[in-house]
C-alpha cells in the first residue's frame, strides 16, 4: 500500500526539504518503518523510546486523529493521506 505523508517543517531536514513524501505499509507502524528506511532517523523523532507516539505529536490518517483509530496499528489503505503535525493548543 502506498500512502502520501505530509512532513512538518521540523522534520524536513530529514526529507531534504520535501513537505510531502510517499511511503508504503499496511499499518501506520509499517509506514513509519518505510519512512525510516528512506530517511534514517525520522521515526525516532515521531516515536518515543518505547516505540509509542510521542506525547506532543499528532498523526492523522485521512483527516482522523489516529488516537481515535487504532494508533500505530491503524490500517492504511492504498492512496491514504497521512499528516504528522506538532500538537499546539489555543482557545
Amino acid at each position: 500500500m502506498s500512502a502520501s505523508v505530509r512532513i512538518p517543517t521540523i522534520l524536513r531536514t530529514y526529507t531534504g526539504g520535501a513537505a510531502e513524501v510517499t511511503a508504503d505499509g499496511a499499518t501506520l507502524q509499517d509506514v513509519l518503518d518505510s519512512l525510516d528506511a528512506q530517511y534514517a532517523g525520522i521515526a525516532a523523532r515521531v516515536l518515543d523510546d518505547n516505540g509509542a507516539l510521542r506525547r506532543f505529536v499528532n498523526v492523522y490518517v485521512n483527516d482522523d486523529d489516529v488516537r481515535f483509530l487504532e494508533g500505530l496499528a491503524t490500517p492504511i489503505a492504498d492512496g491514504a493521506s497521512i499528516s504528522i503535525i506538532p500538537a499546539v493548543a489555543g482557545g
Partner: protein
Amino acid sequence: MTVTASPAIGSAVALKCRECGTRYPLDASYACYECFGPLEVAYELGNVTREQIESGPNSMWRYEALLPVVPGADARPGLQAGFTKLVRADNLARELGVKSLWIKDDSGNPTHSFKDRVVAVALENGRRLGFETIACASTGNLANAVAAAGARAGLKSVVFVPSNLEAGKIVTTAVYGGTLVAIDGNYDDVNRLCTEVAASRDWGFVNVNLRPYYAEGSKTVGYEVAEQLGWRLPDAVVSPVASGSLLTKVDKAFREFIDLGLVADHPYAIYGAQATGCSPVSQAFNSGQDVIRPVKPDTIAKSLAIGNPADGPYALDVVRRTNGAIGDVTDEEVVEGIKLLARTEGIFAETAGGVVVATYRKLLREGRIDPSAETVLLNTGDGLKTLDAVEATSKPTMVISPSYDEFEAEYSKVVS
C-alpha cells in the same frame, strides 16, 4: 539548532523545550526540533519590586518586566488589557456556605475575555518579528481579541473558527473587519488546519508559531490576583480548563512572585473546571492517569471545547502538585452556574464562567475543596457572548398591557 547571540527581549532570554530543555532563539517557533515538545519562554528575572509594579499603568503592562516584551509596551498601539476587577463575592459565599470568596472578573477586558491578555503579548512579538498579518485558531473569544487587536495595531488579521460558533462570537469578530474563516469542523479540526497554514504562510499565528509568547500573557491573571489581594496568595483558585494553559500559567505566576519575594510563600491549591461534554483532563485526573485521551467535544461551553488539550498533561501536574482537583459539570449545571453568579453577584459570565462556578459548587458538595479556604474563581468571559445558553430560561417575569390594575394583579401573583 543552538542559541547564537540571540538578544534578550526584556527579561526573556530564550525559548526552551518543556520536555527536553533544548534552547532556541526568541523567534517564531513553538515545537522542539528534538522531541516535538512545546517551547516556553525562559527568563532571567532581575529585581522587581512592588513599588515598581504599582507605579506602572493600570493594565497588564504593569508587569512587563516579567513578560517577554520589549520594554515600553504601554506606549505602543494595543488594547491595554488586564487589571480587571477582583470582586469580593460575599453573597455567593453565603449561598454556598463558604468563608471567603472572590471572582476575578476578566469579562472587563477590552473584548470581554481574558484572551486580550495573551493576544497582547503575542501581538508585541508579532510586531517585533516583522509580521504584517496576525492570525489564530479560535473557539470565539480569541477570535474577538485578535480581530480587535489587529485593527488597533494596524495589522491585517485572519481568524479561523468552527462554523457552529455562537452567533454572538461571529458578529463580535467580523465587526472588526479582518478576514474571518468559518470551518465546517470542530476546534481541533480548525487547530490542525491552522498548524498547516502556519507552516506555509508568513503570518504570526498567535496560538501556533507565537504560542510561547502568547501563553505567557495568562500569567498576568495570577499576578493581578496576588497584587489585588494586597500582595498575598489565596488558598485556592478555580480555573476553567480548555487547553490547560491558563491554569498552568496562574501557577507559574504565583511561583514567580514567591521567588521574587513579592509575596510570602503560602501553600495554595489550584483546581480545574471542565464541562462533562469535553472533559479529557478531568477524566484523566479522576482516573489517576497521566495520559490524556482526546475526546470529541459536545457541550454548550464552546470556549472550553478543546478535545485534544496540548497543555493538559501540565495542568494535571500542577493540580496534583498543589493538592487541588479537577471536576466537570453537565450543561444543565453550567447554566445553573451562570445564573447563580448573576443572581448573587451581578456578574453575567459566559459559559466558561458557569463551568467554574458550577464545578466549585460540586467540589464543595463532594467535600473535595475546603469551604474555609479563601478561594478565587476565574471568570474568563462575558455572558453577552453566549446568550443562547441562558435564553430559554431567562424570560420576562410577566408580559402585561400598560395597565396599573393588571400590573398589581399579576405582580401579586409572583410576589407573595
